[in-house]
């Protein structure tokens, strides 16, 4: 392994490592615009120039592989001068529209100017004019004047999505990034180009002029949009929600996880969070009386529902009770539900799977057809009908239609996604007690007698298990809306009211209990999940070759 010296620190690195990577290993951040670890190296921005002894010219750290005995200076006078020069070149034709630019505050021109620039501009000429506010796709706006032509977005579309929508046109300082004629930036992953744009050239239509980024707080989480479980950061506006029309969650950004999504996420997941602040949110317990919804306190709701459940079980027995849980729920919600229904109520008709009639979009990259984040968790916890020798969802609906089912507890599902509208309506109308528990109203909740408000994925702690058996944490970014509560809390409260208390105070308590009880989770603990998740027993990590498919 070659040994090199960077700013008088000696380090041994693997052969093939570039100078920029080697410097990172010892905590030296060499500035970069065009370099991105997930993309090919082009060396065009020139901001990462460093001095390497015995080489006549400065070298780009991103492209230069280490060689044994190399002595690198990343911050001497010569390097600093070159950096200032490159920054000044990048800025001479860059518009001074930071006050109205959404990137301000997370702009690498601003950041590097403060870190490495701090010169007085000598540029007094007219700047080159280019196109501004050009919609280049359903999600992305282009401001050509702000573009520094690093080509990260072009390479993303060439190398990651292989959709080739973007190109660089014209020459010299008239060079411009644009979609190819007749094309638009409309692929399933287009939002990533905004993330990797180091400046304000590509901005998100969904985010433009909504919030200044310095009002945002980041909370690590996991995308609930499909069974891949891409790691994300939830960007939420805690400080000035009134400036954003009360919208608390401003955007989702992918969070690096080498074993899951690397740097990326799909647009479906990225823009799929709007239900969190939607008008359809169920914000308080409610019951339907003569066709009208009436709000209840939690106390009353729990009391009434507990009494009705008890009555039905007594009169018709556990066979007349059906439970449809959801792979949208966390492991904790599912485990608390399992204990409540199986142990407290001794019900056997438990299932969670509603096969969607319309198959979800899937590809060989990040998008899975199963649009639930926790199907694997639900299976492993043992909530399939087969595990409990109870009824499957379809059979429950059939039994309901034949008046054999007297109570149905439905979590989160919109049953119309799996069954015909009339079928669902007919079946549910024949059940005496239909309880719907979920975050948002849907056509199933409208058929219920009671609705209980669940906290959404940004409003609670917990874990999902992705398709590959990786347990990953979500974290509470904002307070539960209205009276909503995490699913596990609701089941805990109901259980207590019906005579069996669960000693859970936090999501971690539920997870640790689950880890003790369920084989696949044995040996795991909430405290040890970490930022990149852990694998369930019997699951292996993706091989480098498999992950290679993600990068290539």
């Amino acid at each position: 392994m070659p040994k090199i010296t960077i700013d008088s620190t000696e380090i041994e690195v693997e052969k093939g490592t570039t100078v920029i990577q080697a410097a990172e290993q010892i905590g030296i951040d060499i500035p970069r615009y065009c370099y991105h670890p997930g993309l090919s190296i082009v060396g065009v921005c020139r901001i990462c120039l460093v001095e390497i002894e015995r080489m006549p010219k400065l070298q780009v750290a991103c492209y230069t592989p280490v060689a044994d005995g190399m002595v690198v200076h990343t911050n001497n006078e010569k390097v600093q001068q070159a950096r200032r020069a490159v920054l000044e070149f990048l800025l001479i034709n860059h518009p001074l529209d930071c006050p109205v630019c959404d990137q301000a505050g997370e702009c690498w021109l601003q950041n590097f100017y403060m870190q490495h620039g701090l010169y007085d501009s000598k540029m007094v000429e007219d700047k080159v004019k280019k196109q501004k506010a050009l919609p280049i796709g359903p999600n992305v706006m282009l401001d050509s004047e702000r573009c520094i032509l690093c080509t990260r977005c072009v390479r993303f579309c060439d190398e990651i999505t292989e959709t080739h929508e973007l190109g660089i046109f014209n020459r010299g300082d008239h060079t411009e990034l644009l979609p190819y004629p007749g094309q638009e930036l409309d692929n399933k992953y287009s939002g990533n180009t905004i993330d990797i744009c180091p400046v304000g050239a590509l901005t998100d239509k969904d985010f433009r002029f909504r919030t200044r980024v310095w009002y945002l707080t980041e909370t690590p989480s996991v995308c609930p949009g499909c069974s891949t479980g891409c790691n994300i950061n939830v960007h939420h506006n805690d400080h000035r929600p009134y400036k954003a029309g009360g919208i608390r969650v401003s955007r989702l950004k992918p969070r690096y996880n080498p074993d899951v999504n690397q740097w990326w996420m799909c647009d479906e997941g990225r823009y799929g969070f709007t239900q969190v602040d939607a008008d359809s949110r169920i914000v308080a317990p409610q019951k339907k009386t003569r066709g009208d919804w009436q709000l209840l306190s939690w106390q009353d709701a729990i009391d009434e529902i507990a009494t009705k459940i008890k009555g039905i079980l007594k009169k018709h027995g556990a066979d007349a009770f059906g439970v449809i849980l959801s792979p949208q729920m966390t492991n904790e919600g599912l485990f608390a539900a399992k204990r409540f229904f199986q142990e407290t109520l001794e019900v056997e008709n438990i299932d969670f799977e509603v096969v969607a009639r319309e198959k979800g979009y899937a590809d060989d990259f990040l998008m899975k057809a199963d649009k639930n984040p926790n199907s694997e968790g639900a299976k492993k916890i043992g909530l399939s009908a087969v595990d409990n020798s109870g009824l499957e969802v379809a059979q429950m609906l059939a039994d309901a239609k034949d008046n054999r089912l007297k109570a149905l507890y439905i979590c989160h599902h919109n049953l119309e996604k799996g069954f015909k509208k009339e079928e669902v309506k007919e079946a549910l109308s024949k059940v005496d007690l239909v309880i719907f528990q979920g975050t948002n109203q849907n056509s199933t909740s409208n058929l219920a007698n009671y609705c209980l408000p669940s906290a959404s994925f940004v409003e609670k702690d917990g874990t999902f298990t992705n398709f590959a058996g990786r347990v990953q944490e979500i974290h509470k970014a904002v307070e539960p809306l209205g009276e909503s509560k995490p699913d596990w809390t609701i089941f805990r409260n109901l259980s207590k009211r019906l005579g069996k208390s669960m000693p859970y105070f936090e999501a971690g308590d539920v997870f640790n209990a689950l880890a003790e009880e369920v084989d696949a989770f044995k040996g795991l603990s909430y405290e040890k999940i970490g930022e990149h998740g852990v694998l369930l027993n019997g699951h292996r990590a993706s091989t480098e070759k498999e992950m290679g498919a993600l990068v290539a």
């Binding site: 065009v44 070159a82 990048l90 032509l149 190109g167 660089i168 020459r171 010299g172």
Partner: protein
Amino acid sequence: MSEKIISKFFDIEDSHTIEIYEKHGGYETIRKVLKQWTPEQIIEEVSNANLRGLGGAGFPAGRKWSFIPKDSPKPKYLVINADESEPGTFKDRYVIDHYTHGLFEGIMIASYAIGAHKAFIYIRGEYIRQTERLVEQIEAAYEKGYLGKGIFGSKFDLDLIVHRGAGAYICGEETALLESLEGKKGWPRMKPPFPAIEGAFHSPTIVNNVETLAYVPTIIKNGADSFANLGSERNGGLRLYSISGHVKNPGVYELPMGIPLREIIYEHAGGLENGNGIKAVIPGGSSSPILTPNEIDVNMDFDSLAAIGSMLGSAGIIVMDDSTCMVRALYVVTRFYHHESCGQCTPCREGTGWAEKVLKRILDGAGRPEDVDNLVEIADNIIGNTICPLGDAAALPIQSYVKKFREEFEYHVREGKCDVKGQ
């Protein structure tokens, strides 16, 4: 010094045809080579002849050929750089026009030496007549069996393809040329890998200038020493000097490497018009640092010019007499490099445009005292910091014009006008 190799064909009628070329001993060398020479022997002979890359970089041609990996399973390519676009340079056009089959014979020998069975001539888009000539003469060579399967009855196959550029100066840079040849935007590549390892279509490729290859048959025919001895130390043979500007007889002159610049100007190009004095001379294409009258005794070879801080480059000499405004001259040169900057890397993309604007402002009478130093600083900040040599090509004139004619720039800034008579 009356030895001529290429230019003796300039005055022969129909010298571009196979018949006339063969009448003057053409295609004898390749026939011998195919029968008697090994590729290694050719490379050694060309190395010993001190043949340098005559496109401008001056890299020893034989050494370049030796970089082709012997054990690569990939096809090898020879690419002929006929994108002649450096202002002041027009020699390759003469070679194509009058020494067409001499060039082909050089291509054949070089292809055989590096094991290439396909060669591409990348010709600048503006050379329409030359393109027609190449296509027509390549067809004639195919008909005779000089190109195609088993050339000259040997077992060696060679196809020759003409590819027209679209008019970008940058496509004369060898890696941008290869990108363009592959059908992509002409943006220079990062090196390494060098083309000899990974060039056209990811395969080992040698890129040679037209003139370089045109000298190859003579080297093999007459021997390395006889060629080397025509030139100076480490700079073998003759080369074609393009001379233009304020001289009586502009044109292409085939003269030895290392001949004094003064001799070219006064003896061969007839001196200046109207008996004017020299103000400045560009020795090797517009990118080479400019020379003052007291520097023109320099010998025209790569090493001598490098020693005085300039370069031989493409040997495109531009003579400026004392009626020339150096600010305007630099503006013209800078405008060219701004127009031709490919836009890929930051310093050249942004710096060339900035410098042009500053120069334009000075010419318009709105210069500021700090502009002169600022111009040099822009140039300093481009040099050495770019992917390809275009950045240096743009910056070197700025540095040298301002350094050597600083008073003229300062006068322009101070007075808002030119102090050169006749301007």
